[in-house]
């Protein structure tokens, strides 16, 4: 596998952005769990377009369906009805193995609880997506080490997760999520397990390193302290999208404050 330089990558991303194809398009997506008398509807007719090159925040109270929606977008769950197109591909039309392969090649994940492998070092953890893709171990670790340098963990490459702070572990997770150059980054409550300062640092990192012209970033959160990092805010409640706001409207304290009250 040929390593692309940063300049090549930038050109690739700009080409993608210029196509103006949404990275994510959901059309009348619904999701129900269970069947018969135990059937529980979770998502009701979700319509959503998210372009690449933006950081979108998905916010809402607990139980409103945020995690279900991003699980469907990431190909981890199937929608009950509706159409889900991610990076131009119709997920509903994909068979299991193809979906797994698509996910591995195109989507990066940052989890709330990091989910690092405790027996692997920081560099080895960050290299996992490349190993999944079949990279040679040494080359994968070398590439992962470069990514760890970019997220500021160069001196801690050989540390085990147990030797890292929460913020550092999340940075390893971010490096892992980006090492294979995914076109979609999905972050589920990346700051929930972190203190305020670490949370800010993590979002700054995501903002600076992850958001690029050809890549869409979606962050599920109800941490109002990080709202100002977003380019777009999608508000959900009771399985529906209530509102989609652009970044300018999130910059002032009053608007942020109103959201804080809504979701805390």
């Amino acid at each position: 596998m040929e390593l692309l330089t940063d300049i090549d990558l930038e050109a690739e991303f700009e080409k993608e952005a210029s196509a103006l194809e949404p990275a994510i398009r959901c059309t009348a997506v619904t999701k129900e769990f269970g069947s018969g008398d135990t059937r529980v509807p979770v998502l009701h007719g979700i319509d959503l377009d998210l372009p690449p090159g933006e950081l979108a925040l998905l916010v809402g109270p607990s139980g409103c369906g945020k995690t279900t929606l991003i699980s469907i977008i990431a190909g981890l769950l199937d929608a009950t009805s509706g159409k889900v197109e991610v990076l131009g591909e119709n997920l509903g039309g994909m068979r299991g193995a193809n979906k797994v392969r698509f996910r591995g090649a195109n989507i990066g994940f940052v989890f709330q609880q990091y989910n690092l492998l405790p027996a692997l070092t920081a560099a080895e953890n960050a290299a996992v997506p490349l190993l999944i893709a079949g990279w040679n171990r040494h080359k994968a670790i070398a590439k992962a080490s470069e990514m760890l340098e970019r997220v500021g963990l160069g001196p801690r490459m050989k540390a085990l997760p147990s030797q890292l702070s929460g913020g550092q572990q999340q940075r390893v997770a971010i490096a892992r999520a980006l090492v294979h150059e995914p076109r979609l980054l999905v972050c589920d409550e990346p700051t929930a397990a972190l203190d305020a300062h670490s949370g800010q640092t993590v979002l700054e990192l995501i903002r600076d390193v992850a958001v690029q012209p050809g890549r869409a970033v979606i962050v599920v959160t109800h941490d109002s302290r990080i709202f100002h990092f977003g380019d777009r805010m999608i508000t959900m409640s009771d399985g529906r999208i209530d509102d989609v706001k652009q970044v300018e409207n999130l910059r002032d304290d009053e608007t942020r404050g109103s959201y804080r009250g809504e979701f805390n």
């Binding site: 994940f109 609880q113 190993l131």
Partner: protein
């Protein structure tokens, strides 16, 4: 991803060592008990195996195993010698007799009375003395284990005398034989000497040992000998090859004693211990890593690959545990090889193959039970914190 699987396994040192301990212990228990069982049950026919110079054993048709011998009349010897294909046939006595030592103590012994001229059935391996010395008056040879039993802690000394049925017996040799099933000394003497040593019944001859002619198989000669039974005026005879008589004796002890059940219970317990410890610990290991497996699935690892990782982990602990267990078993038999009571017991390749199969079953079962949790895990659960 194989490398990742092994790192995940070895990284959890407590569970890794726990599973290996379970497998090693189960291997040791199963291998040791099976080896001891095979060794002990083989002893039931050891005295048949030790007779190397004759291929055919002729006996009363009611004989069930080598120690239970209805005596035959001498005329049967001539009948057998007259069968076409028999190169030669000699008589042999086998029975139990009590001896009185110089100290006044009594010991039960197994006595073989061998054909006076040919000494067919004489021990093959002499430690002291010469088998030919059985032709001396009152001569007796005893096996090494028997000597230690009769004269505990005393060095081997030929020329010792003791009494059998109030008749003087002189020790002329000490031999090495396959350990008998019953822990009695094994004595060898001439047939004519045995007639004096043994309280007299009407008939004395226990077996007729025979050899087929070179151009006839032993099985064919056995069939011809049993054809003599068509003459219903004579006692019915059974003729078996050495191998057949060995297995007949073995099967009797397998079917008529509690030995297989006793050992079978211990071996089964060893297997269950292996399944319980390995299975439970491996399952716990997988459950504790469920989130990590979920993350791997989310990141694009297919179920087939996940299953491969889990099976690889199981095979590695199985191989390491089996190796340690087999080593401990070998060490046990090596350490005890000089103990007379445990002589002849050891690991057979077939035993280790069987135990290896059992260990493979244990680890695969553990991996299948653990894998179920992971294979049916929805990757979306990693989003739920």
């Amino acid at each position: 991803m194989s490398w990742v699987a092994l790192r995940m396994l070895i990284g959890d040192r407590t569970k890794y060592l726990g599973i290996i301990f379970g497998i090693a212990f189960a291997t040791l228990l199963m291998a040791q008990q099976i080896s001891i069982f095979v060794g002990i049950i083989s002893r039931t026919g050891s005295q048949v195996k030790d007779v190397r110079d004759a291929d055919i054993w002729v006996m009363d048709a009611n004989t069930r195993f080598v120690d239970e011998v209805p005596p035959l009349p001498e005329s049967d010897l001539q009948r057998v010698r007259g069968v076409p294909g028999v190169a030669w046939a000699v008589k042999m006595y086998k029975g139990q007799v009590t001896c009185r030592l110089e100290s006044g103590q009594y010991r039960s012994t197994v006595l073989f009375g061998l054909d006076d001229n040919s000494l067919v059935g004489a021990p093959q391996q002499m430690l002291e003395g010469n088998a030919e010395d059985l032709k001396l008056p009152d001569a007796v040879i005893v096996d090494k284990a028997g000597y230690e039993y009769m004269w505990k802690d005393e060095p081997i000394r030929l020329g010792r005398t003791f009494e059998l049925n109030d008749h003087r017996a002189v020790l002329v040799g000490v031999c090495k034989v396959s350990p008998p099933f019953f822990s009695y000394p094994v004595l060898y003497t001439r047939y004519s000497q045995a007639e004096k040593f043994v309280p007299h019944d009407r008939n004395l001859m226990s077996y007729i040992l025979a050899k087929p002619q070179p151009d006839v198989s032993a099985e064919e000669v056995c069939r011809r000998i049993e054809d003599l039974n068509r003459n219903e005026t004579h006692r019915k005879l059974a003729a078996l090859t050495q191998r057949q008589f060995f297995w007949k004796t073995l099967k009797y002890f397998l079917g008529s004693t509690g030995i297989p059940v006793n050992f079978g219970i211990t071996i089964t317990l060893g297997f269950i211990v292996g399944v319980a410890i390995a299975g439970q610990t491996f399952y716990l290991f997988t459950v504790e890593n469920l989130k990590q497996f979920g993350a791997l699935k989310a990141m694009g690892v297919h179920n087939t690959r996940i299953l491969g990782m889990i099976v690889l982990q199981a095979l590695v602990v199985g191989a390491v545990g089996f190796g340690i267990g087999a080593g401990l078993t070998a060490g046990f038999f090596e350490t005890t090889s000089n103990i007379t009571a445990l002589a002849g017991l050891g690991m057979l390749p077939e035993t280790m193959l069987g135990v290896g199969g059992a260990v493979l079953f244990i680890v695969l079962l553990a991996s299948v039970v653990s894998a179920r949790r992971v294979l049916f895990l929805e990757p979306a659960v990693v989003f739920r914190g």
